[in-house]
Amino acid sequence: MDEDLLREFLIETYENLDKLDADLLALEKSPDSKSVIDNIFRMFHSCKGGCGFIGLSKLEAIAHTGENLLGLIRDKKVEMNSKIIDALLSTVDTVRKILNNLESIHGEGNEDHSALLTLLNSFRSGRIENEKTLAAEDILKTADGKELKKAPCANETATIAAPLPSASGEDILTEEINNLTDSERINFENIVYEILVNKGALISEDIEAVLAQCRTESLKAEVNRNKNENGARQDHAGSETPENKVNSRQSENPGVKSSPAADDQKSIAAADMSIRVNIELLDKLMNLVGELVLARNQFLQLTSVSDDPNFIGISQRLNLITSELQEGIMKTRMQPINNIWRNFGRIVREVSASINKKVRLEMEGKETELDKTIIEAIKDPLTHILRNSIDHGIEEPEKRREKKKDEEGLLLLRAFHEGGQVNIEITDDGNGINLNKVKQKAIERELINASQASVMSEREVLNLIFLPGFSTAEKVTNISGRGVGMDVVRKNIEKIGGTVDIESRHGSGTSVKIKIPLTLAIIPALIVTSGGDNYAIPQVSLLEVVRLKGHGAKKGIEEISGALVYRLRGKLLPLVYLNEELKIGSEKKVFTAEMPDEHIVNIIVLQAGDRQFGLIVDAVNDTEEIVVKPLDKFLKSISVFAGATVRGDGRVALILDILGLAKMSGVISELNDKLILDKQAQVVKSSKEAGRILLFKNKGNSRMAIDLSKVSRLENFSVDEIEQAGGFEVVQYRGQIMPLVYISKILPERRSAGRENGASENYEADSVLKNNDAEKNKNLQVVVYSDYDKSVGVVVDSILDIVETDIELQKSTARAGVIGSGVILNKVTEILDMDYIIKNLKY
């Protein structure tokens, strides 16, 4: 057996099989599509042709039987049904198995495929008039080990002896005759001649005509073959020779390879333009281009100090050409995501059928291209998510009917480019994820404890799904539920620099969103300096760069029990100091009160998973295209580095692994990011939902807080604005009269602050005014608290902060007007019971 030939055949046939799966499913949906049937037919046909050539009798028998069946379907002699599809799919499987055998044991294997052949043939019966022919064919096909060259000849003989069914049947015949080698053809002609003469059914002129036809066809084929070999191919539209068919392979798979399944004649030229290239060669080219990019960068640095116009001109051209070359080489490695998606149709069909669900698979953005290595890497994770969606997400048809959903569940695959990344979304319209169930399971499996569960946000709960050993499936099926899965999915995606996110609405569906880089080899990066060394930050993780000068830094950066945070547009951004994380440089803190005003703080705002954090570096340099080189194995364990690169000046710079850095610095912890909350305060839990509270200081330095949700505004009133009405201090606020509330006056038994102020329950309005006399010019800070249509102004000493928190209240400290107290920002804080306060306002 010719090894090269066999390998070619294997590659080609594997590719065909992948397409065959998709085509068969397409056929199931639209059984009348002639082009699809033709495609499938041709694939079987070319497989058979290849087998005959190499001498694979078993495979040939199978392909031939499949082809015959398809021929009948094409000619509408057999009606398409799902049983046939099943049989054809299992044919594909069998062919795959044989191909595997060919690869591993260099033989077709010893399996007996006669059952399959009988099955395939059974679909044909009743439709063909000549039972004898059928029987003869069956014997020929199932007889393994029968002398090969003879088989097709005898076979054709048998068929030709039967009444020719139709014009298209004739076509098949012509094709097959043309497939014969010269010696076969002579053999064939002899046999035909004998039969015809023996039968005496045809007169000699007819025989001559047939022979003449055979000869011209073979001549045509010869001419075509020669033309093709010379590379001078033209469009042979309309010509029905098999050579032409082979040439008109569709180029659904751009770049590398044409496949022997002609879609239509138009693609001839495109298919001829493609060749097979060894992936190793491409990898090598990719590396070389990487080197070239580095050399170019170094060269460009020289250019910047030169003023020789020739030199500059040449370097600019070099720059352009290199960029284009890089782009071109990258493209050679790009493959449409459909290369893996097209198998999904079959997976969905099988999985859903096995658990009696109806699922419709839709795809958007099939043509989205990705680097080959990435495509390989995401295949398994995607398959897993798909299976999960069908098994856990989409409901049984009856349940869907009850919910007034379409009986057929929808599974939508979407792929698109965005911001230098590829986004892949797998969305189903199933039942969604039941958060409580997730919590329960996580507690059962001791992944979290009950108190952790009670404070988790929706997103955190969803992220539990990615923990190792997690599964909500009630029972373990062979599809899913063994609890190995989503953690592996996430690990695999993160390995190639991607991220996974889940969104789900209980009752209406789940969406898994994956973001992955286009390519791993050359990436744009921001170069920063820290501790005297340069580091590269991949641009995909970069959100923005904030530059603070002395004063701004002092004001903007705050410390919460040792952790630095920066208020970025109102949201607290945890800060990580690169020098400290890498243990380089002596300076411990970047900002101090004594910091000179010209001191500059650079904050690189980064995205790590679903978290944002700020990385403080010494200096920010330029962005650069860098070539990622892996680190040696004894450096790989340092999770903060993703690799290294050679920069334009020839120096080596380490590439930061943002996710690793975030994990190391504690910005994201294993349970995904409890840290901020923990640091923000000893945040304890309340019976209430997580909420935001307004923290303020009252007279006597006591800290109090009220629920922010009902605070409508923070206002300043000057003391002059205070008026008296019905024994109350009021202010005019937005055309209404708003009573002012002095906490210290309302709350009974004010232990310290109350006494200090000398206030009593029978408080008199003017005394307040008197008390405030000293501060006459000062403004009153007022929290406008609205409940229904009533507003009251709570007078506070100073507003401290807004804190997002859950608080565990110690009710023991509760008194009238106070729900309880808890520790917020390390200080004991009382939470006011505004309902009580408003109710007790004699208003």
Partner: protein, 142 residues
């Protein structure tokens, strides 16, 4: 009798040898990029014509006293099968061709790291040529 060629170098007054076939090249001290958080044995990364090579400070690996002037170090670049690695050494010696009959396994009395990293010695007229166990040297704990 089998003759082997050894590329030799010095650490203090210790005389070491590595089989010539494993040595890719020898270059002068090259500016390098330190790797924070890495083991102290790792000196940094050097750019060898676009290839990034990890440099291992052999003095540290042998727990010898540190020399502050690293600029006199030489890089012995080795081909390890999975990429090149550089050993930083004090001084380079000659390439020596020597028969296996002079070889003896490391004596039991050798202690500490040296015991781990040296697989044997050739008895030369004017001293011992210590043969490094490269695999062991590369087993660096983080």
């Amino acid at each position: 009798m089998e003759e082997k060629q050894y590329c030799t170098f010095y650490l203090d007054d210790m005389f070491f040898g590595i089989e010539v076939t494993k040595v890719q090249e020898i270059i002068k001290y090259n500016e390098m990029t330190r790797v924070p958080l890495a083991s102290g044995v790792i000196c940094g990364l050097i750019n060898l014509r676009g290839q990034i090579v990890t440099a291992i400070n052999l003095r540290r690996r042998f727990e010898l006293s540190q020399i502050t002037n690293v600029h006199n170090f030489m890089n012995v670049i080795l081909n390890t099968g999975d990429g090149a690695v550089s050993f930083l050494v004090d001084r380079i010696g000659d390439v020596i061709e020597i028969g296996s009959n002079y070889y003896e396994a490391a004596p039991e009395t050798l202690k500490g790291v040296a015991r781990e990293l040296i697989c044997g010695a050739y008895k030369l007229e004017n001293g011992l040529l210590l043969v490094l166990d490269i695999q062991k040297v590369l087993e660096i704990k983080v």
